[in-house]
């Protein structure tokens, strides 16, 4: 009777107030059968890491349009590690300059999505990232 659902936290760190993109992605993941925890606007890295811990999510999706990603993302990655959640896959979406994307990936972000990304691709990537690891464990 065991039922395994992919759990995703969709969060908006920082101060920009535009969450249409985050909501579209949340909705697409829901329609793909995932359980999506949405925490709303203006979250600190601490709030996001805490929510990820309490909700035991497989994936954290960060939507950032403010340009503060190089400050926010490393902090969130560090907090996840401190909490013992190294296994959580982090995805970043929003307005990320081309030169920053590889640096985020180096830090341990799983994928970076810019404008025009198909939600189907995000769904596919998340499934592979989560279920792929599980099969390998």
């Amino acid at each position: 009777m065991a039922e395994r659902r992919i759990r995703v936290l969709i969060a908006k760190p920082g101060l920009d107030g535009h969450d249409r993109g985050a909501k579209v992605v949340a909705r697409a993941l829901r329609d793909a059968g995932m359980e999506v925890i949405y925490t709303g606007l203006r979250q600190t890295p601490e709030m996001i890491a805490e929510a990820a811990l309490q909700e035991d999510v497989d994936v954290v999706g960060l939507s950032i349009l403010s340009g503060a990603h190089m400050a926010l993302v490393p902090r969130i990655l560090e907090l996840l590690r401190q909490n013992g959640q190294d296994h959580v896959k982090v995805f970043v979406g929003g307005i990320i300059p081309d030169e920053d994307a590889p640096r985020l990936l180096e830090m341990g972000v799983h994928a970076v999505y810019g404008p025009g990304t198909l939600t189907d691709d995000i769904v596919k990537d998340i499934r592979q990232a989560v279920l792929g690891t599980e099969a390998g464990e």
Binding site: A2, E3, R30, G33, E35, V36, G40, L53, Q54, E55
Partner: protein, 338 residues
């Protein structure tokens, strides 16, 4: 140290994992619950139900904050289990109750867990009771259960909680809604939230009237052909009656939260003084036992019957040659479906 011991030691990571194991009905979850069970029975379990948009999450946010920063006495540790609906088509869910609970962020005395209903009706998920047990064992003094909020038949929470809050808001229905059976009957405390809105007085009035009828202070009986009026309190010498109070709140403005917390404290005291606390505890455990027994018996029985026999019997029902009740008798007697 096994994971249940880590939970008892206060590890939030272990607790979070255990909640997932229980929710997914994994063997690790059942093992952990076994180990945690002797440590349960201490938390005050408070159910919060009511129609969507009445402000359940905002109220839980404010109440939890109140218990963390009480005007007097020690702060209490608070856990929240917030249930939102799963899509019946994809099984996916958007769990959005945390949006209204940001005041609780960064507080190690609070643990909030969202869960999807995963196809269960009645406002909770099938494993909600298990999650509440784990949080109880982990030492939280108060565990809030926030239901899906789908409506009038959402009464399962009353079986699980010591105290059930039913949240209403002005303008959601006429006074006939207030006399329908179901959700209002399970209320230990009625909350009229958004009480600054027009129509709040009418809502409070309708609910108060309904309560008077449900909990009459006088009863008229016919005795040897004579009409007699007796005071209810005089007749029931056993236990004082709990009449659900109607509390007005404006959660987003933090108004009425003290009153509500006091009503919850009074209800808790009432349960303990009258012995109702133990009764509710026993009723809850009995119904949990019976649910588990039903699931287990079903699984065991399915293992004994061949898929072909089951399928053949089912076909007979489909073609209207066998009534479902006869099919059950036939299957349980082990007679081959001819």
């Amino acid at each position: 140290m096994n994971i249940a011991e880590q939970v008892l030691e206060g590890s939030r990571l272990a607790l979070s994992r255990v909640l997932t194991y229980i929710e997914n009905d994994q063997p690790e979850g059942r093992e952990a619950l076994k180990a945690l069970f002797p440590h349960t029975g201490k938390a005050h379990i408070v159910g919060v139900t009511g129609a969507p948009g009445t402000g359940k999450s905002s109220l839980v946010n404010r109440l939890a904050y109140y218990y963390r920063h009480p005007p007097e006495g020690e702060p209490k540790r608070v856990a929240v289990v917030a249930v939102d609906p799963s899509s019946p088509f994809t099984g996916g869910a958007i769990l959005g109750d945390r949006i209204r609970m940001r005041d609780l962020a960064g507080d190690p005395g609070v643990f909030i867990r969202s869960m999807a209903s995963r196809g269960a009706l009645g406002g909770l998920a099938r494993t909600t009771a298990g999650l509440v047990q784990a949080l109880d064992a982990a030492g939280f003094d108060i565990v809030f259960i926030e239901t899906v909020g789908a409506g009038q038949a959402e009464v399962d929470v009353a079986r699980l909680a010591h105290t059930t809050l039913v949240v209403e808001a002005p303008g959601l229905g006429d006074d006939v809604q207030a006399i329908k059976a179901g959700i209002l009957e399970i209320a230990d405390i009625l909350v009229v939230n958004k009480a600054d809105r027009p129509g709040a007085d009418a809502t409070v009035r309708a609910l108060t009237e309904m309560l008077k009828m449900a909990h009459p202070t006088q009863e008229t009986i016919m005795h040897h052909g004579q009409r007699m009026v007796i005071e209810v309190g005089a007749r029931r010498e056993d236990a004082p009656l709990w009449v659900p109070p109607v509390v007005r709140t404006v959660a987003v403005e933090n108004e009425g939260i003290d009153d509500l917390a006091q009503a919850i404290a009074r209800h808790r005291a009432h349960l303990q003084e009258t012995g109702e606390w133990q009764i509710r505890d026993r009723v809850r455990l009995q119904s949990e036992l019976e649910n588990l027994l039903r699931d287990t018996l079903m699984q065991r029985w399915r293992a004994t019957v061949s898929a072909d026999v089951y399928r053949a019997t089912l076909e007979q029902v489909f073609s209207r040659r066998l009534a479902p009740s006869d099919a059950v008798a036939q299957l349980l007697d082990g007679a081959p479906a001819a």
